[in-house]
Each structure stands twice: as C-alpha cells, then as structure tokens.
C-alpha cells in the first residue's frame, strides 16, 4: 500500500536473506509461489488506511507457559488481515485477545497493549462485555444456538437491547450474511437443520446483527467443504467494505485470495528452557509482499510449502 517497509516488523535484512532463500527453494525444486489475486482496491489507495486496532508488544501466557511473545502490528479499517503460521504458534490465542475471549480462561495473562481507536482494551476501566459488542467473533466450528434461525440472529440484538423492528434487524443481518434467500421460508426452524456452511454463515450473520466494528474469524472455513468455503470468502470480500476483518487460517491460498495484509507467525524455542516453545510474529506486511517477496527466509519457506 503506502510504504511497505513501515509495516515490516521483521528485523531481517530483506533482500539478502530473500535471495538466499529463493536460491535454496529453487535448488530443491519444491518452491511454489502462491499467486495473490489483484483486488484492485489495494493498489494506490487515496489515503493510508486508518489504524483501527494497534497491537503493541503483546505477550500471552497460560499459567507459566508463554503462548505468544512480543507481537506488534496494526489492523486497518476496511481490510482483511490474515494470521497464518504453523499449528501452536499462537494465532488463535492472539485473535482471542482482541475481543477478550481469553478472559474466560482464568490462567491466561496478557501483557503489552492492544489499542482499539487508541484505547487499551486491557485497561482497568474496560468492560470485556462492551469490547465484545464492537469486536465480534466467528469460531472454527459453526456454533449455532439450539434455537430457531430467527432466534439465533435475534439473540444478540435482544440482549444488547437494540431498538427497532426485530423482523427487520433479522432480515437485514441474514441478507448481509448471504443467507436470506436460502432460509427466508424457514426462519422458525431449528438452526441445526441447516448444512455446515449455512450454519457458519448464520454465525456470521448473527455477528453482523449486532453491528460490530471488527469481526474476528478463527479458521471459519476449516470445517467446511470447498463450495461453502468459497461462499464465505466471497462474503468476507464483500463485508470488508464496512467492517475490518481479522482471520486466522491454515489455508494459505485462502489468505492469499482474501487478505490485504498478512502476519506470519512461527514457533520458537525458549532461550532459557529448550522444552518450552512460544509463538512469535516473523513478518507482517501486505499479503502481496508476504507471498511474492517475503523478507524473512522462514516466511519464504512456509508460504512456498516447504515447511508446515
């Protein structure tokens, strides 16, 4: 977007390492760069995108075990930010900090700052319930409530005491979630009767109904077939006009297809204790640079499919 280097957190010397990694990859003949499709809107933006969430030196520990360490990057308005990396590198842990879902785990400790419009989400006066009203979340496995489709959508607006005609709120959310045409005749039926892909879109629509600012998605397509995945990806590209989306994904093609910026996480050994591991962000940049011209050899190795 604007100057890409300002977004790079990696301290590595870009061009030199890059060349070595590329040479190594070519020698093995295994390297396959993933094409990043052009979204058009990413090239030459009129103004630098507004920073909506700023993650600064965040570390998360469960009990004494550090899960993810010293993470810093920004999330911009109207963009999809992808978090990629091998299993156990703390992507989901970090994502769950962004709407304070980690509060549900008593042993979790969060250090550093997560600034949402400049306000620290972990500040002493911040109510996690209020945070979750503006930063919604969609989970890995579709988790509709054991209620009707209508009540699934209406639950959020009802508990938040939203004013207005509930039928309209539900219809608007289902339309935005690209589900209205499929379910408009069976709103009173149990949500468990829907297919997995429909259930996940219901969960997205449920989040949209409370009109959040940011939507967090934790591997939203990992339990879905390719067609449902495709529908949800289309939906995300459409939703990013109005919402900022952060998605954790193991599918690198997916990250390349839908995200504007990508943070690559990896697992590192602890310096003091070899048995302990923690996650760290190796590289954060525009998706194009992460996939086409990564600064760090570890990113190169991961996105080209040589490891992980």
């Amino acid at each position: 977007m604007n100057d890409p280097d300002t977004r790079t957190t990696s301290a590595g010397n870009g061009s030199e390492v890059d060349a070595v990694a590329a040479a190594a990859a070519d020698a093995h003949g295994l390297s396959q760069r993933i094409e990043v499709p052009d979204h058009g809107d990413r090239i030459q933006p009129a103004a630098p995108a507004e920073v909506i969430v700023s993650i600064r030196d965040v570390s998360v520990a469960y009990g004494g075990n550090v899960a993810v360490k010293d993470v810093s990057f920004d999330i911009h308005r109207g963009e999809v930010t992808a978090l990629i990396g091998p299993s156990g590198c703390g992507k989901s842990t970090l994502l769950r900090c962004l709407n304070r879902m980690n509060d549900l785990i008593p042993s979790a400790r969060v250090g550093g700052e997560i600034l949402y419009h400049g306000q620290d989400l972990y500040g002493p006066d911040v109510d996690p319930v209020q945070v979750r009203k503006v930063i919604g979340m969609v989970f890995q496995k579709p988790n509709p409530f054991p209620k009707s489709i209508y009540d699934n959508i209406a639950f959020g607006p009802r508990v938040l005491g939203m004013k207005g005609d509930m039928d309209q709120i539900v219809e608007r959310a289902l339309r935005r979630g690209a589900l209205w045409d499929e379910v408009k005749d069976r709103l009173k039926e149990n949500a468990f009767g829907m297919s997995g892909g429909q259930q996940q879109r219901l969960c997205i629509a449920r989040t949209l109904a409370i009109e959040p600012d940011v939507i967090l998605m934790d591997e939203p397509c990992s339990a879905l077939d390719p067609i449902s995945t495709h529908k949800i990806e289309d939906l995300m590209l459409e939703l990013k006009q109005d919402y900022s989306i952060v998605i954790v994904t193991h599918n690198m093609q997916q990250a390349a297809r839908i995200s504007d910026c990508t943070a690559f996480f990896t697992v590192e050994m602890d310096e003091a204790d070899e048995r302990k591991r923690h996650g760290r962000v190796v590289e954060y940049d525009t998706t194009e640079r992460v996939f086409q011209n990564p600064a760090d050899p570890r990113t190169e190795a991961y996105v080209s499919g040589r490891v992980g």
Binding site: V129, N143, P146, F192
Partner: protein, 312 residues
C-alpha cells in the same frame, strides 16, 4: 463369483497387506474367547433378570393382595378404625402438598447451587472443592439423619416452625437437594462450551448467557434430577415421622396449620402394623395408590422433559 474382481490393485506390498487384513477379519474367534464372551453376556442377562424379578414381585404382590380393597372410596375417604370405611384421602393430599413444597424449594435452590458450582466457582479455591465433595457425600447420607436435623433445626431450634406440613417439605427438600444439585450440574456441564462462547462473543453478559442459553439447554437434564428427587421424597417415611407426620389424621392438611398432617407411606406403615387382616389388604392397596401418584407425577415431568429435549 469370480475372485478377480475382489483383487486389489497396486503394488505387491499393498496386495499382501489387503489379503492379510481380510484374512484377519474373516477368521473365526478361537473357542476360549467365544466362551468368555458368551459367559459375560449371560452374567449381564442374569443381573438384569434379577433386578426385574424383584421389581415385578413387589408390584404383583401389591396388586394381588391389595386388589380386593381397591375402590374409589380409597381416594375419597379418611382413615378409620373400621377397615371397610378406611381410606387414604388426607394422606394423598398430604403427600401431594409435601411434594409440591419440595419442588418449590428444591428447584431454585438446587439449580442455583449447580449454576454457582459450574459457572462461577473457582475450582482452585479449597472451599469450592470442599463444597463439591460434601454435596456428593450428602447424597448418600441416611434419611433418618435428615429427620433428626429437621426436628432440631426446623421444627424446633432456630426456625421453630412446629410440627407443620411445611416443616416436612423443608426436611424432605434438604434430603433430596444433593440429588438435584448433582443432576443439574451434569446437565449444565453437558451444554457445549461453544454455545457459551458464541453467546459471550455477541456481547451478552455471563448472566444473560446462563439465563438465555445454558439454562434452557439444560432443562431436560435438570428435570431428570427433579424426577429422581420426587421419587425418593415420595417414599420417605422415617424423617417425616420425626418432623411430625401423624399416623392418624382424618381431615385434609394445610401447609402451615399445626393441626397435624400425614403422608401416604406413613399411613401405609400404620395400616400394615395393625393386627386385623383387612388393614393389611388396605396397606397393599395403599402401595398401589402411591405407585399411581408417583407415576402420574413422573409422567408429567417426563412429558415436560421431552418437550424441551434437544440434540446437539
């Protein structure tokens, strides 16, 4: 049928593996294993036959012995010294009142305690673990101990309610409370964490999540606990005797009057200990009446449970 069609393709090693796997599945079990399996199956059948036989014997015995006395006047007449005119009306009404009182006390207390233990209590604190351990143990405490407790603390002592029906309800409620707490905890625990997370992620508070997601989803399990509790409470005699259930009451009881009250098992016990044969027949008929009352209450609870039943 040609075997060729069944031959797998692939390398020699694959073929060998497939042939090996097939031969394993097709070989019969050896004699010893089969015998052990059959023996175990026979033991299981024996266990269930024994349990069913005991149950059938009691019911058949009650029906055979009690059927001569079965008539509607059992339901409408008060007890009497004359066997022909003796009925169970005050006892039936007393038992119904007792159970209604138990339900009103035990459902909010039991569900409340279960919600606290499952959703709010910090397991790392020793006092919460102590409470958990004690509730499990309390479920096995003999009922007579609750009777003495009721006499000392409810009828007399701090509450000083006197020998009234409400004191009986309170004592029985304490007796079955652990059952309801344990069953409710199981039901609450069975609600998947993903439901709670989904609700909280929408900005619902913890209480809203419990009230609108967790409790509605655990109603069937909670009702199962209530059914078990009613079934136990309805048959209890010993604690009731201690907290004032009289054996011979000819008028319908009320919750708070100290005129005395009685319950079905107490009156059955009274009739069964009388010397005349007619009263023993009456006692058997009373057992039938009690079974019918119990089944009617449980049928209602089961119907209620099935209305809320859902699968994940």
């Amino acid at each position: 049928m040609s075997l060729d069609r069944l031959q797998p393709g692939g390398s020699a090693r694959t073929q060998l593996a497939v042939v090996g796997a097939r031969s394993t599945t097709l070989t019969a079990q050896n004699g010893g294993d089969k015998l052990k399996g059959n023996l175990f199956y026979a033991l299981l059948l024996l266990a269930i036959a024994f349990a069913l036989a005991g149950l059938t014997a009691i019911v058949v015995q009650a029906f055979v012995k009690g059927s001569p006395a079965l008539s509607t006047h059992l339901l409408t007449d008060p007890p009497s010294a004359i066997a022909d005119r003796a009925g169970f009306r005050p006892a039936i009404v007393g038992t119904l009142y007792l159970i209604v009182g138990v339900i009103f006390l035990v459902v909010p207390l039991g569900v409340g305690a279960a919600v606290y233990l499952e959703e709010y209590a910090d397991r790392t604190r020793w006092w919460n673990r102590l409470v958990e351990l004690n509730i499990q143990n309390l479920a096995g405490v003999p009922s007579i101990i609750y009777g003495i407790l009721g006499l000392a603390f409810i009828v007399r002592g701090p509450l000083d309610l006197g020998f009234i029906l409400a004191a009986g309800s309170l004592t029985l409620a304490l007796l079955v409370l652990p059952t309801v707490i344990l069953a409710s905890r199981e039901a609450i625990r069975a609600v998947p964490p993903s439901i709670r997370e989904g609700s909280l992620a929408l900005g619902a508070t913890q209480w809203q999540t419990i009230r609108r997601q967790v409790l509605p989803a655990s109603i069937p399990g909670i009702l199962t606990g209530v059914i078990l509790a009613i079934s136990r409470a309805i048959g209890e005699t010993a604690p009731l005797l201690l907290v004032g259930a009289a054996t011979f009451v000819t008028f319908n009881p009320s919750f708070f009057s100290d005129d005395g009250y009685t319950a079905l098992p107490v009156l059955i016990f009274n009739y069964a200990t009388r010397p005349q044969d007619e009263f023993r027949v009456l006692a058997s008929a009373g057992v039938i009446v009690m079974l019918v009352v119990l089944l009617a209450m449980n049928a209602f609870a089961v119907w209620l449970r099935n209305r809320y039943e859902q699968q994940w």
